[in-house]
């Protein structure tokens, strides 16, 4: 697979391909610098080699209010390992140089990006080879901070919807988002969960009635069983905490979980 497009176009291609294969795109999350810089890159490469569809590239922040204990601990380690905004951009550049072709979305809280310079970050991320931005503490009403520079660079700017979002919120998010909508599965913070919520089908149907944008589910998606469940329901899904927890038992465990989840998404 070679990389033929960037930004929103690359995401469009990713969703089109998954759709043709009648499955939801699998986008694992990895935090640059966890457990250290080199190993985080190795992990992304090894999982990319499985053929997964895309990546959420975590950039650590000292005060991650939307994250549960697993990601808090991992990003804290990444910070102690010296991960910075610049290093995260280097990581993307290096991964592209090594031939990684899948879309990569930079995930960061707002403050490190603002400190780096919002416009400059978007430009540098595009130049490094990233495809978009996920900022969990940036609701659409504050989109102005990144909207113009993302539009100019062709980078996707992802907004979230949650079970608490009403029709007005759904309209605001879908009117502003590019790339896809990040659908928060539950009312809560990130973290592995045993079950997906029972209301999921109705919830997704409620969103589908309002938008044609691709819907990517995250928060709590943890297992091959979940991946199977999402087939035909969402356009993609993100797995984060479950992979980190598997990794605590060893690289091979993490790799096996990513492989099994990806396989399940294709069954």
């Amino acid at each position: 697979m070679t990389r033929q497009s960037q930004g929103t176009a690359a995401l469009d291609a990713m969703f089109a391909r998954a759709k043709k294969q009648n499955r939801a795109a699998f986008m694992p999350y990895f935090c640059i610098g966890y457990p250290d810089y080199d190993e985080s890159l190795c992990a992304i490469e090894a999982v990319a080699a499985l053929g997964v569809d895309g990546f959420e590239i975590g950039m650590p922040f000292s005060d991650p209010i939307a994250d549960g204990p697993t990601i808090q601990a991992a990003t804290q380690i990444a910070l102690e390992q010296g991960a910075t905004v610049r290093l995260c951009l280097d990581a993307v550049r290096q991964l592209r140089a090594r031939g990684l072709s899948q879309p990569m979305l930079m995930m960061s809280y707002a403050n490190p990006l603002v400190a780096y310079g919002a416009d400059r970050f978007v430009r540098d991320a595009r130049d490094a080879g990233a495809d978009g931005l996920i900022v969990p503490d940036l609701p659409p009403e504050e989109a102005a901070l990144f909207a113009d520079s993302c539009a100019r660079a062709g980078m996707a700017l992802i907004f979230f919807l949650a079970p608490t979002s009403n029709d007005e919120r759904i309209e605001m998010a879908t009117a502003n988002a590019t790339g896809f909508i990040y659908v928060v599965s539950l009312t809560g913070i990130t973290g592995a969960r045993k079950e997906l919520p029972a209301y999921l089908t109705d919830y997704i149907a409620r969103l589908r009635a309002k938008t044609e944008m691709p819907l990517v589910l995250g928060f709590g998606v943890s297992s091959p069983a979940h991946a199977r469940q999402l087939r035909g329901l969402t356009d993609g899904f993100i797995v984060a905490s479950a992979l980190i927890r598997a990794w605590e038992r060893g690289f091979d465990e993490m790799h096996a979980l990513a492989r099994d989840i990806f396989a399940a998404s294709q069954e």
Binding site: S62, L79, N111, A115, Y116, D137, F159, F160, R169, G188
Partner: protein, 407 residues
Amino acid sequence: MTDLYIRTDLSDLPDARGYFGEFGGRFVPETIIPALDELEAAYNEAIADPAFHRELRHLQRTYTGRPTPISHARRLSEALGGAQIYLKREDLAHTGAHKINNALGQGLLAKRMGKRRIIAETGAGQHGVGASTAMALLGLECHVYMGTVDIRRQQPNVFRMKLLGAEVIPVESGSRTLKDAINEAMRDWVTNVDTTFYLLGSALGPHPYPMMVRDFQSIIGVEARDQIQALTGQLPDACIACVGGGSNAIGLFHAFRDDENTELIGVEAGGHGIESREHAARFADLDISRPGILHGTRSYVMQNDDGQIMETHSVSAGLDYPSVGPEHAHLRQLERAYYTMATDVDALEAFQVLSKMEGIIPALESSHAVAEAIKRAPTMPRDSVLLVNLSGRGDKDLDTVIGILGN
């Protein structure tokens, strides 16, 4: 005083998006945005309802003990040989600090909204005590997040909260102080938003909190402005208040904002001094403090070059916070208010001086404001007036002070 007890001039900032000039806003996860909308609507409805004002006023008078008096610090002023220092005695409010003003206001609002589970964060423990007290009074359940560093240095308040029936939840993450307690409270709110009211303790966080907390605290300035004129026949030359998140300061300042001849002076925690980098002086050390985004609002934030939030230091837990309420950032930019700092040493000195000369043991937070008054008074004429917000009493700080000064 008007019919409506809370000072709310609708032409005032923030704007509809919660901005004070370029500061403020709403930088939080989508999950809680609908709850902020709901809160804002409920608040606007409540303050348009005379019954809400009547109920709050009744509690303030019969329970909190408002109005709190103003005391002339006669011996201290005499000894300094300059301006007359007057103290707005928020330390005499029930629970011993201004925090109760906001806790009762938000508590009544929570009850009105039908929320029964209340969460709060606390640094010094004064907001935690205020919240626990208000919830005991109103019959609502209360859970207070508190960093373990603060739990250690504010033991009496931890015990007080438990006695009042609240659950104190220790926070082990990050610097284990106020910042981390707010992180945990926000995570709780994101998770339990349907049933839970987040009672934020200072004039910070996402809109509408900075506005709402200011409004509930503005009673301090409304009372003080009348009282000081009755006592001295004039408006003060300056109002001085300590600034943690900024609630007691904005509560005092607001009533004086159009009084051009009254200087508004906020005092931040200078900790071990600016050069040491161990402080919480967000407006004084612009090498490490810049406009940024923390806890849902855009304001000055102490951070490293990479945008990671820095750990702060102050002898007073209530000022030990890396950001500051957005309205203060705005007032500073307008040059309507001026911000300075007092170090740990300055504050400890003021703590002792006020105790010995006036028989008032101030909170270490408030001691920062007293320190600035002590510094300024001698440079001013004898008929000038300094109004200091004595935001709380110092009983909670005795362990800390004994630890530093010895018995």
